[in-house]
């Protein structure tokens, strides 16, 4: 059972440093939230872990594998899979093909069985199986994105802003799906601007502000924190 350990990570884009000494741990089987405003660096952090953004110093390890120097496909092979912001589906491929693309790196024989399990978890996708992904509603697309990530058999799921633009009742449905995924043993790092949702679904959380972790603690405690209330709950 491995932890995702991010230790004093600095990362950015060319001359622009976005993350400053960010440290964060996701223990096996945990759901941890990373909250913060637009532009705080949350997606950059996930990008750094996934090998999409350049790390300048510090480390991101999964077990004893150093992720920050790996190519993105090797990060996925290591079991760390992202559900990206904005879903990033292959819009001109069907739901089926999008899901199968999630298993692109796999060479085992259980892909079909996994597809069945995912359709059982996300029955809407069975109904929309032959639809082009670009034609689905936002909530359905979010489910395809999660299904696609699950097809890679992740041990760690990094979920970036799943609630953006979705009706509250759909976010609730996604929370239930997350709980079911979590129950199978997947560790989850959920990145969210919707602070209430993030703190409800996680046991611990980190607050990122302009590239630095400024607060961390049990999610229930953070809901009571005056700084969090003022800056993020809008009260």
């Amino acid at each position: 059972m491995k932890s995702l350990t991010i230790d004093r990570l600095c990362a950015g884009y060319g001359d622009t440093q976005v993350l400053w000494d960010v440290s964060l741990t996701l223990a096996p089987g945990e759901i941890v939230a990373l909250i913060g405003s637009n532009g705080a660096g949350k997606s950059t952090l996930l990008g750094a872990v996934s090998g999409l953004v350049e790390t300048t110093s510090g480390s991101a390890r999964y077990g004893d594998v150093e992720l920050s120097s790996l190519e993105p496909d090797r990060v996925v092979r290591a079991g760390v899979v992202q559900v990206p912001q904005g879903r990033r589906l292959f819009s001109s491929l069907t739901v089926e093909d999008n899901l199968r693309m999630g298993a692109y790196l796999r060479r085992d024989r259980e892909v079909e069985a996994d597809l069945e399990k995912i359709l059982a978890l996300l029955p809407r996708l069975r109904e929309r199986y032959d639809y082009l992904a670009g034609r689905l509603s936002g909530g359905e697309q979010q489910q395809v994105a999660m299904g696609r990530a699950l097809m890679a058999r992740p041990q760690v799921l990094l979920i970036d802003e799943m609630s953006l633009g979705l009706a509250p009742v759909l976010v609730d449905a996604l929370i239930d799906i997350l709980a079911q995924i979590h129950a199978t043993g997947v560790s989850i790092l959920i990145v969210e601007q919707d602070v209430q949702t993030a703190l409800e679904v996680s046991s611990r959380a980190y607050v990122l502000e302009t590239g630095r972790i400024i607060l961390t603690g049990a999610s229930a405690d953070l809901l009571d924190d005056p700084q969090v209330k003022k800056a993020y709950l809008g009260v």
Partner: protein, 270 residues
């Protein structure tokens, strides 16, 4: 004579075999802020497109100022007094912020009466209103997302509308930016502009709407004062979800504690 600015009467829109909207009717009062909410796919954007004359409805009509919107060419709808923003903002990328807004001022309802200089003066005024004066000469493509959204609103205001349709302007804004956007919309509404606001951010809808219309699967399922609509079991089931009610209670509790700590009176019942 009614106070209604906009009459939406039996609107139905069919795309092939699918009715995207059926039998949608309501009136928008002059000076109101109407929140239009509902799940994705419920027909909100389709309705915005009918009101702004982008789609002609299959059944029913939208009437404004004695005109049927469907009888007016789309590019002339703004001359009736209806303007809109787009969910995916569409600035003139190579023009700067000031020029973008000036285009609206030259084209809109008062446009033919304005000299080029007057159009730019109007643009400068509106940039102040939306707090973009600080980046007036920056190219639209170089603006941040929140600033592009402000520009989208300024461009629409430059058409001198009486009714402004706002399509998810809050998406992607942080809590502070949402507050600023709401302040801006309140200022615009206070200047006499009727607003129709499509939003998923319920906090924003609750904060600003004088009335709410809820769509689900192409039909209107609720209409009325925010407190009533948001407590409706049908709306909770179709859109808000049961956890929303609990979260609202939580937020209200936090607000109450904050006010007590600052010795402020409790807010009036929402």
């Amino acid at each position: 004579m009614s106070d209604a600015a906009l009459h939406i009467d039996g609107i139905g829109v069919r795309f092939g075999g699918l009715w995207a909207l059926s039998e949608v009717s309501f009136e928008v009062e002059r000076g109101a802020v109407l929140g239009l909410i509902g799940p994705n796919g419920s027909g909100k954007t389709t309705l915005m497109n009918v009101i702004s004359g982008v789609y002609k409805p299959t059944t029913g009509e939208v009437r404004y100022g004695g005109h049927r919107i469907a009888d007016v060419p789309t590019h002339d709808v703004c001359h009736l007094g209806i303007a809109r923003t787009f969910q995916i903002v569409k600035p003139f990328a190579n023009l700067n912020a000031r020029e973008n807004v000036a285009v609206g001022a030259m084209y809109g309802r008062e446009g033919s009466k304005r000299s080029t200089r007057a159009a730019f003066e109007r643009a400068d005024e509106l940039l102040e209103v939306v707090d973009l004066a600080r980046v007036a000469y920056r190219r639209a493509s170089d603006l941040t997302i929140p600033d592009r959204k402000r520009l989208e609103v300024a461009k629409a205001l430059a058409l001198d509308p009486e009714v402004l349709l706002l399509d998810e302007v809050m998406a992607g804004l942080n809590a502070t930016e949402v507050e600023e956007a709401l302040e801006l919309l309140r200022r615009v509404n206070q200047r006499g502009v009727t607003l129709i606001v499509v939003e998923h951010l319920m906090k924003a809808i609750v904060s600003i709407s004088t009335c709410i219309v809820v769509l689900a699967e192409g039909r209107k399922i609720a209409e009325g004062a925010p407190a009533d609509v948001l407590a409706s079991p049908q709306v909770i089931e179709a859109y808000l979800g049961s956890r929303w009610v609990k979260r609202q209670a939580q937020l209200e509790q936090i607000e109450l504690e904050r006010r007590e700590a600052q010795h402020m009176p409790p807010p009036s019942p929402s």
